[in-house]
Protein backbone atom coordinates (compact mmCIF):
# COMPACT_ATOMS: atom_id res chain seq x y z
CA UNK A 1 0.00 0.00 0.00
CA UNK A 2 2.64 2.50 1.06
CA UNK A 3 4.04 2.95 -2.45
CA UNK A 4 0.73 4.55 -3.47
CA UNK A 5 1.28 7.48 -1.10
CA UNK A 6 3.90 10.20 -1.19
CA UNK A 7 4.97 9.96 2.43
CA UNK A 8 7.56 12.70 2.04
CA UNK A 9 4.68 15.18 2.14
CA UNK A 10 3.93 14.11 5.69
CA UNK A 11 7.41 14.90 6.94
CA UNK A 12 6.39 18.52 7.72
CA UNK A 13 9.85 19.99 7.24
CA UNK A 14 8.62 23.60 7.28
CA UNK A 15 6.62 23.00 10.45
CA UNK A 16 9.67 21.53 12.16
CA UNK A 17 11.81 24.43 11.00
CA UNK A 18 9.30 26.88 12.49
CA UNK A 19 9.11 24.96 15.76
CA UNK A 20 12.88 25.12 16.02
CA UNK A 21 12.89 28.91 15.57
CA UNK A 22 9.76 29.50 17.67
CA UNK A 23 9.64 26.89 20.47
CA UNK A 24 6.25 28.15 21.70
CA UNK A 25 4.62 28.13 18.23
CA UNK A 26 2.05 25.57 19.51
CA UNK A 27 1.06 24.57 15.97
CA UNK A 28 -0.28 21.21 17.14
CA UNK A 29 -2.61 22.93 19.61
CA UNK A 30 -4.87 24.05 16.73
CA UNK A 31 -8.46 22.86 17.23
CA UNK A 32 -9.39 23.84 13.66
CA UNK A 33 -12.25 25.93 15.09
CA UNK A 34 -11.79 28.69 12.52
CA UNK A 35 -12.09 31.69 14.85
CA UNK A 36 -8.86 32.99 13.31
CA UNK A 37 -10.17 32.75 9.75
CA UNK A 38 -13.60 34.17 10.57
CA UNK A 39 -12.12 37.41 11.89
CA UNK A 40 -9.24 37.80 9.45
CA UNK A 41 -9.70 40.42 6.70
CA UNK A 42 -7.16 38.51 4.60
CA UNK A 43 -9.29 35.33 4.60
CA UNK A 44 -10.02 34.18 1.05
CA UNK A 45 -7.20 36.11 -0.58
CA UNK A 46 -5.09 33.75 -2.74
CA UNK A 47 -7.57 31.04 -1.67
CA UNK A 48 -5.96 31.02 1.78
CA UNK A 49 -6.80 31.92 5.37
CA UNK A 50 -5.03 31.46 8.74
CA UNK A 51 -6.79 28.16 9.53
CA UNK A 52 -5.97 26.67 6.12
CA UNK A 53 -2.40 27.92 6.36
CA UNK A 54 -1.98 26.04 9.64
CA UNK A 55 -3.60 22.88 8.21
CA UNK A 56 -1.23 22.91 5.23
CA UNK A 57 1.67 23.18 7.68
CA UNK A 58 0.44 20.32 9.85
CA UNK A 59 -0.20 18.14 6.80
CA UNK A 60 3.24 18.84 5.40
CA UNK A 61 2.09 20.61 2.25
CA UNK A 62 5.36 22.51 2.26
CA UNK A 63 5.31 23.40 -1.44
CA UNK A 64 2.02 25.29 -0.99
CA UNK A 65 3.24 27.05 2.17
CA UNK A 66 6.48 28.16 0.55
CA UNK A 67 4.81 29.29 -2.67
CA UNK A 68 1.70 31.17 -1.57
CA UNK A 69 1.78 34.96 -1.90
CA UNK A 70 -0.86 35.11 0.83
CA UNK A 71 2.07 35.72 3.20
CA UNK A 72 2.21 39.22 1.68
CA UNK A 73 -1.49 39.82 2.34
CA UNK A 74 -1.16 38.73 5.96
CA UNK A 75 -0.16 41.99 7.62
CA UNK A 76 1.14 40.18 10.74
CA UNK A 77 -1.58 42.08 12.63
CA UNK A 78 -2.09 39.23 15.14
CA UNK A 79 -5.86 39.55 15.32
CA UNK A 80 -5.93 35.75 14.83
CA UNK A 81 -3.75 35.33 17.90
CA UNK A 82 -6.09 37.64 19.81
CA UNK A 83 -9.07 35.46 18.81
CA UNK A 84 -7.44 32.02 19.11
CA UNK A 85 -8.64 30.01 22.16
CA UNK A 86 -5.31 28.17 22.13
CA UNK A 87 -3.17 31.30 21.84
CA UNK A 88 -1.57 30.33 18.53
CA UNK A 89 0.22 33.24 16.88
CA UNK A 90 -0.25 32.66 13.14
CA UNK A 91 1.37 36.03 12.40
CA UNK A 92 4.56 34.88 14.08
CA UNK A 93 4.46 31.71 11.95
CA UNK A 94 3.87 33.70 8.73
CA UNK A 95 6.85 35.88 9.69
CA UNK A 96 9.07 32.78 9.75
CA UNK A 97 7.73 31.66 6.35
CA UNK A 98 8.43 35.12 4.91
CA UNK A 99 12.03 34.72 6.00
CA UNK A 100 12.27 31.32 4.26
CA UNK A 101 11.67 32.86 0.84
CA UNK A 102 14.98 33.60 -0.94
CA UNK A 103 15.62 37.34 -1.07
CA UNK A 104 15.62 37.40 -4.87
CA UNK A 105 12.09 35.90 -4.94
CA UNK A 106 10.58 38.44 -2.56
CA UNK A 107 8.52 41.46 -3.69
CA UNK A 108 11.17 43.93 -4.87
CA UNK A 109 9.91 47.05 -3.12
CA UNK A 110 9.35 45.27 0.18
CA UNK A 111 12.95 44.06 0.30
CA UNK A 112 14.16 47.42 -1.00
CA UNK A 113 12.45 49.34 1.84
CA UNK A 114 14.45 47.27 4.33
CA UNK A 115 17.69 47.48 2.33
CA UNK A 116 17.33 51.28 2.32
CA UNK A 117 16.42 51.33 6.02
CA UNK A 118 19.66 49.47 6.74
CA UNK A 119 21.52 52.36 5.14
CA UNK A 120 19.66 54.91 7.29
CA UNK A 121 16.03 55.37 6.30
CA UNK A 122 13.35 53.62 4.28
CA UNK A 123 12.86 56.27 1.58
CA UNK A 124 16.59 56.49 0.86
CA UNK A 125 16.93 60.28 1.14
CA UNK A 126 20.35 61.41 2.39
CA UNK A 127 20.47 62.32 6.10
CA UNK A 128 21.60 65.81 5.04
CA UNK A 129 18.27 66.24 3.21
CA UNK A 130 16.34 65.40 6.38
CA UNK A 131 18.32 68.02 8.31
CA UNK A 132 17.84 70.52 5.49
CA UNK A 133 14.09 69.99 5.13
CA UNK A 134 13.53 70.35 8.88
CA UNK A 135 15.47 73.62 8.86
CA UNK A 136 13.76 74.87 5.72
CA UNK A 137 10.23 74.15 6.96
CA UNK A 138 11.03 75.72 10.33
CA UNK A 139 12.30 78.87 8.61
CA UNK A 140 9.09 79.02 6.60
CA UNK A 141 7.00 78.87 9.78
CA UNK A 142 9.11 81.64 11.34
CA UNK A 143 8.53 83.83 8.28
CA UNK A 144 4.84 83.15 7.69
CA UNK A 145 3.51 82.68 11.25
CA UNK A 146 4.78 85.43 13.56
CA UNK A 147 2.95 83.86 16.52
CA UNK A 148 5.25 80.84 16.15
CA UNK A 149 8.48 82.80 15.65
CA UNK A 150 10.03 80.98 18.63
CA UNK A 151 9.16 77.48 17.35
CA UNK A 152 12.06 75.02 17.45
CA UNK A 153 13.00 71.70 15.88
CA UNK A 154 16.22 70.71 17.67
CA UNK A 155 18.69 68.38 15.95
CA UNK A 156 21.31 66.24 17.75
CA UNK A 157 20.79 68.05 21.04
CA UNK A 158 22.91 66.10 23.51
CA UNK A 159 21.19 65.54 26.85
CA UNK A 160 17.67 66.41 25.70
CA UNK A 161 15.15 64.46 27.78
CA UNK A 162 13.03 63.27 24.85
CA UNK A 163 14.15 61.75 21.55
CA UNK A 164 11.62 61.99 18.72
CA UNK A 165 11.63 59.79 15.61
CA UNK A 166 9.80 60.60 12.41
CA UNK A 167 8.40 58.32 9.73
CA UNK A 168 10.60 59.01 6.67
CA UNK A 169 7.53 59.62 4.52
CA UNK A 170 6.90 62.88 6.36
CA UNK A 171 10.13 64.76 5.57
CA UNK A 172 10.22 63.12 2.13
CA UNK A 173 6.63 63.47 0.89
CA UNK A 174 4.65 65.78 3.19
CA UNK A 175 7.12 67.79 5.30
CA UNK A 176 4.42 70.26 6.38
CA UNK A 177 2.94 67.44 8.49
CA UNK A 178 5.90 67.75 10.89
CA UNK A 179 4.91 71.29 11.89
CA UNK A 180 1.83 70.49 14.03
CA UNK A 181 3.93 68.02 16.01
CA UNK A 182 6.60 70.65 16.67
CA UNK A 183 3.90 73.11 17.73
CA UNK A 184 2.44 70.64 20.22
CA UNK A 185 5.84 69.84 21.73
CA UNK A 186 6.68 73.55 21.88
CA UNK A 187 3.40 74.39 23.63
CA UNK A 188 3.92 71.67 26.23
CA UNK A 189 7.50 72.89 26.62
CA UNK A 190 9.39 69.61 26.68
CA UNK A 191 13.11 69.33 26.00
CA UNK A 192 13.33 67.19 22.85
CA UNK A 193 15.54 66.44 19.88
CA UNK A 194 15.70 64.72 16.52
CA UNK A 195 18.81 62.88 15.42
CA UNK A 196 20.52 63.53 12.08
CA UNK A 197 21.15 59.79 11.68
CA UNK A 198 18.88 56.75 12.15
CA UNK A 199 15.99 59.19 12.51
CA UNK A 200 13.41 57.15 10.57
CA UNK A 201 10.83 55.50 12.79
CA UNK A 202 9.21 53.34 10.09
CA UNK A 203 11.33 50.21 10.75
CA UNK A 204 10.52 48.37 7.52
CA UNK A 205 13.02 45.62 8.29
CA UNK A 206 10.32 44.10 10.47
CA UNK A 207 8.47 42.94 7.36
CA UNK A 208 10.62 40.93 4.87
CA UNK A 209 11.28 38.24 7.51
CA UNK A 210 14.99 38.48 8.38
CA UNK A 211 15.39 39.02 12.14
CA UNK A 212 19.05 40.00 11.77
CA UNK A 213 18.05 43.00 9.62
CA UNK A 214 15.36 44.05 12.11
CA UNK A 215 17.85 43.69 14.97
CA UNK A 216 20.49 45.72 13.09
CA UNK A 217 18.22 48.73 12.54
CA UNK A 218 16.81 48.74 16.09
CA UNK A 219 20.34 48.40 17.48
CA UNK A 220 21.49 51.42 15.43
CA UNK A 221 18.52 53.45 16.69
CA UNK A 222 19.17 52.43 20.29
CA UNK A 223 22.86 53.39 20.02
CA UNK A 224 21.86 56.77 18.58
CA UNK A 225 19.43 57.52 21.40
CA UNK A 226 21.90 56.27 24.01
CA UNK A 227 24.62 58.53 22.55
CA UNK A 228 22.28 61.52 22.73
CA UNK A 229 21.59 60.67 26.37
CA UNK A 230 17.81 60.92 25.99
CA UNK A 231 15.83 59.07 28.64
CA UNK A 232 12.54 58.82 26.71
CA UNK A 233 12.17 57.64 23.11
CA UNK A 234 8.94 58.95 21.57
CA UNK A 235 7.50 56.93 18.71
CA UNK A 236 5.20 58.99 16.51
CA UNK A 237 3.22 55.95 15.34
Amino acid sequence: MSDQYDLSKLRTRVKQQIEKAVPDAKIDYCLTCGLCASGCPASGIEDMDPRKFLRYLVLGQDDIILKTNWIYSCSLCQRCKYACPMGIDVGRIVYEVKGMRPKEDRPTNLQRSCDLQKKGNSTGIPDADFVWVVGDILEEVHELEPEWSDLQAPMDKIGAKFYLNQNAKEPTVEPEEMVPLWKILHTVGIDWTYSSKWWDGANYCLFPGDPEDWEYTVRKQAETVNDLGCTTYINTE
Binding site: R79, L206, T232
Partner: protein, 167 residues
Amino acid sequence: MLYATLEGLRRFNIPHNFEVVSIITLYAQWIREGRLKVDPAWNTEGLKFSVQDPCKLVRQSLGDPVADDLRFVIKSVVGEENFIDVWPNKSNNYCCGGGGGALQAGFVANRRQHGKTKFDQLNATGADVVITPCHNCHTQVLDICEHFGGQWQTTHLWGWIVKALIR
Protein backbone atom coordinates in the same frame (compact mmCIF):
# COMPACT_ATOMS: atom_id res chain seq x y z
CA MET B 1 6.69 52.10 14.41
CA LEU B 2 6.53 51.59 18.15
CA TYR B 3 6.13 47.80 17.94
CA ALA B 4 9.33 47.30 15.92
CA THR B 5 11.29 49.33 18.47
CA LEU B 6 9.71 47.91 21.62
CA GLU B 7 9.61 44.27 20.49
CA GLY B 8 13.02 44.55 18.79
CA LEU B 9 14.67 45.82 22.00
CA ARG B 10 13.05 42.96 23.93
CA ARG B 11 13.51 40.11 21.45
CA PHE B 12 17.14 40.87 20.64
CA ASN B 13 18.01 41.98 24.17
CA ILE B 14 19.44 45.29 22.95
CA PRO B 15 21.00 47.43 25.70
CA HIS B 16 19.36 50.84 26.09
CA ASN B 17 19.10 53.61 28.67
CA PHE B 18 15.69 54.98 27.71
CA GLU B 19 12.03 54.10 27.92
CA VAL B 20 9.94 53.84 24.75
CA VAL B 21 6.62 55.68 24.69
CA SER B 22 3.90 56.49 22.17
CA ILE B 23 3.15 60.10 21.31
CA ILE B 24 -0.55 59.22 21.82
CA THR B 25 0.05 58.36 25.49
CA LEU B 26 1.86 61.66 25.92
CA TYR B 27 -0.86 63.74 24.19
CA ALA B 28 -3.43 62.26 26.60
CA GLN B 29 -1.20 62.76 29.62
CA TRP B 30 -0.47 66.37 28.69
CA ILE B 31 -4.15 67.17 28.13
CA ARG B 32 -5.06 65.62 31.50
CA GLU B 33 -2.29 67.57 33.22
CA GLY B 34 -3.42 70.82 31.63
CA ARG B 35 -0.10 71.31 29.85
CA LEU B 36 -1.79 70.91 26.47
CA LYS B 37 -4.95 72.99 26.49
CA VAL B 38 -7.45 72.18 23.78
CA ASP B 39 -10.97 73.36 23.09
CA PRO B 40 -13.38 71.73 20.62
CA ALA B 41 -15.27 75.02 20.18
CA TRP B 42 -13.82 75.37 16.65
CA ASN B 43 -16.05 72.48 15.50
CA THR B 44 -19.14 74.63 15.05
CA GLU B 45 -20.37 72.57 12.10
CA GLY B 46 -20.27 69.35 14.09
CA LEU B 47 -17.83 67.54 11.82
CA LYS B 48 -17.98 63.86 12.76
CA PHE B 49 -14.79 61.91 13.41
CA SER B 50 -13.90 58.24 13.52
CA VAL B 51 -10.57 56.52 14.03
CA GLN B 52 -8.32 53.65 12.99
CA ASP B 53 -6.54 51.77 15.80
CA PRO B 54 -3.09 50.93 14.38
CA CYS B 55 -2.53 47.19 15.05
CA LYS B 56 1.14 47.64 15.77
CA LEU B 57 0.42 50.33 18.36
CA VAL B 58 -2.73 48.96 20.00
CA ARG B 59 -3.22 45.18 19.80
CA GLN B 60 0.49 44.38 19.41
CA SER B 61 2.08 46.89 21.81
CA LEU B 62 0.17 48.88 24.41
CA GLY B 63 -3.34 47.43 24.22
CA ASP B 64 -6.64 49.05 25.16
CA PRO B 65 -5.10 51.75 27.42
CA VAL B 66 -3.50 53.48 24.41
CA ALA B 67 -6.72 53.03 22.38
CA ASP B 68 -8.61 54.71 25.24
CA ASP B 69 -6.03 57.52 25.30
CA LEU B 70 -6.46 57.93 21.54
CA ARG B 71 -10.23 58.33 21.95
CA PHE B 72 -9.78 60.70 24.90
CA VAL B 73 -7.51 62.95 22.80
CA ILE B 74 -9.85 62.94 19.80
CA LYS B 75 -12.94 63.68 21.93
CA SER B 76 -11.10 66.48 23.74
CA VAL B 77 -10.15 68.01 20.40
CA VAL B 78 -13.32 67.58 18.31
CA GLY B 79 -16.03 67.35 20.99
CA GLU B 80 -17.28 64.16 22.63
CA GLU B 81 -20.56 64.20 20.66
CA ASN B 82 -18.64 64.37 17.40
CA PHE B 83 -16.77 61.10 17.77
CA ILE B 84 -18.28 57.95 16.26
CA ASP B 85 -16.47 54.76 17.18
CA VAL B 86 -16.06 51.74 14.92
CA TRP B 87 -17.02 48.19 15.80
CA PRO B 88 -15.09 46.04 16.57
CA ASN B 89 -12.57 48.43 18.04
CA LYS B 90 -9.44 48.92 20.16
CA SER B 91 -7.45 45.66 20.57
CA ASN B 92 -10.09 43.78 18.60
CA ASN B 93 -10.15 46.18 15.65
CA TYR B 94 -9.47 45.04 12.09
CA CYS B 95 -6.18 45.70 10.36
CA CYS B 96 -6.47 48.28 7.57
CA GLY B 97 -4.64 45.90 5.24
CA GLY B 98 -1.71 48.22 4.57
CA GLY B 99 0.58 47.00 7.34
CA GLY B 100 3.14 44.23 7.54
CA GLY B 101 4.75 45.45 4.33
CA ALA B 102 1.56 45.00 2.26
CA LEU B 103 1.82 48.56 0.90
CA GLN B 104 5.36 47.89 -0.28
CA ALA B 105 4.80 44.34 -1.54
CA GLY B 106 2.61 45.16 -4.54
CA PHE B 107 -0.37 42.77 -5.00
CA VAL B 108 -2.63 45.82 -5.14
CA ALA B 109 -5.89 43.93 -5.74
CA ASN B 110 -5.17 41.69 -2.73
CA ARG B 111 -4.34 44.70 -0.57
CA ARG B 112 -7.64 46.34 -1.49
CA GLN B 113 -9.58 43.13 -0.90
CA HIS B 114 -8.02 43.03 2.57
CA GLY B 115 -8.96 46.71 3.04
CA LYS B 116 -12.61 46.16 2.07
CA THR B 117 -13.40 44.98 5.63
CA LYS B 118 -11.92 48.21 6.96
CA PHE B 119 -13.73 50.28 4.35
CA ASP B 120 -17.14 48.81 5.22
CA GLN B 121 -16.52 49.30 8.92
CA LEU B 122 -15.42 52.94 8.57
CA ASN B 123 -18.09 53.71 6.00
CA ALA B 124 -20.79 52.50 8.41
CA THR B 125 -19.82 55.25 10.89
CA GLY B 126 -20.80 57.95 8.40
CA ALA B 127 -17.91 60.04 9.72
CA ASP B 128 -16.62 63.06 7.79
CA VAL B 129 -13.06 62.49 8.96
CA VAL B 130 -11.08 59.35 9.77
CA ILE B 131 -8.03 59.86 11.96
CA THR B 132 -5.13 57.49 11.28
CA PRO B 133 -2.29 57.91 13.78
CA CYS B 134 0.10 55.70 11.75
CA HIS B 135 1.57 56.52 8.37
CA ASN B 136 0.93 53.08 6.86
CA CYS B 137 -2.73 53.15 7.97
CA HIS B 138 -2.98 56.69 6.58
CA THR B 139 -1.82 55.63 3.13
CA GLN B 140 -4.06 52.54 3.05
CA VAL B 141 -7.23 54.21 4.44
CA LEU B 142 -6.77 57.06 1.96
CA ASP B 143 -6.49 54.54 -0.87
CA ILE B 144 -9.45 52.33 0.07
CA CYS B 145 -11.65 55.40 0.62
CA GLU B 146 -10.91 56.58 -2.90
CA HIS B 147 -11.05 53.12 -4.45
CA PHE B 148 -14.38 52.06 -2.92
CA GLY B 149 -15.98 55.51 -3.20
CA GLY B 150 -15.99 56.67 0.43
CA GLN B 151 -16.77 60.26 1.32
CA TRP B 152 -14.57 60.84 4.32
CA GLN B 153 -11.27 62.72 4.66
CA THR B 154 -8.30 60.71 5.94
CA THR B 155 -5.98 62.68 8.19
CA HIS B 156 -3.25 62.51 10.81
CA LEU B 157 -4.13 63.45 14.40
CA TRP B 158 -1.65 66.24 15.16
CA GLY B 159 -3.23 68.83 12.84
CA TRP B 160 -6.54 68.67 14.72
CA ILE B 161 -4.80 69.08 18.07
CA VAL B 162 -3.21 72.29 16.79
CA LYS B 163 -6.58 73.45 15.45
CA ALA B 164 -8.05 73.10 18.95
CA LEU B 165 -4.94 74.43 20.72
CA ILE B 166 -5.21 77.26 23.24
CA ARG B 167 -1.89 78.97 23.95
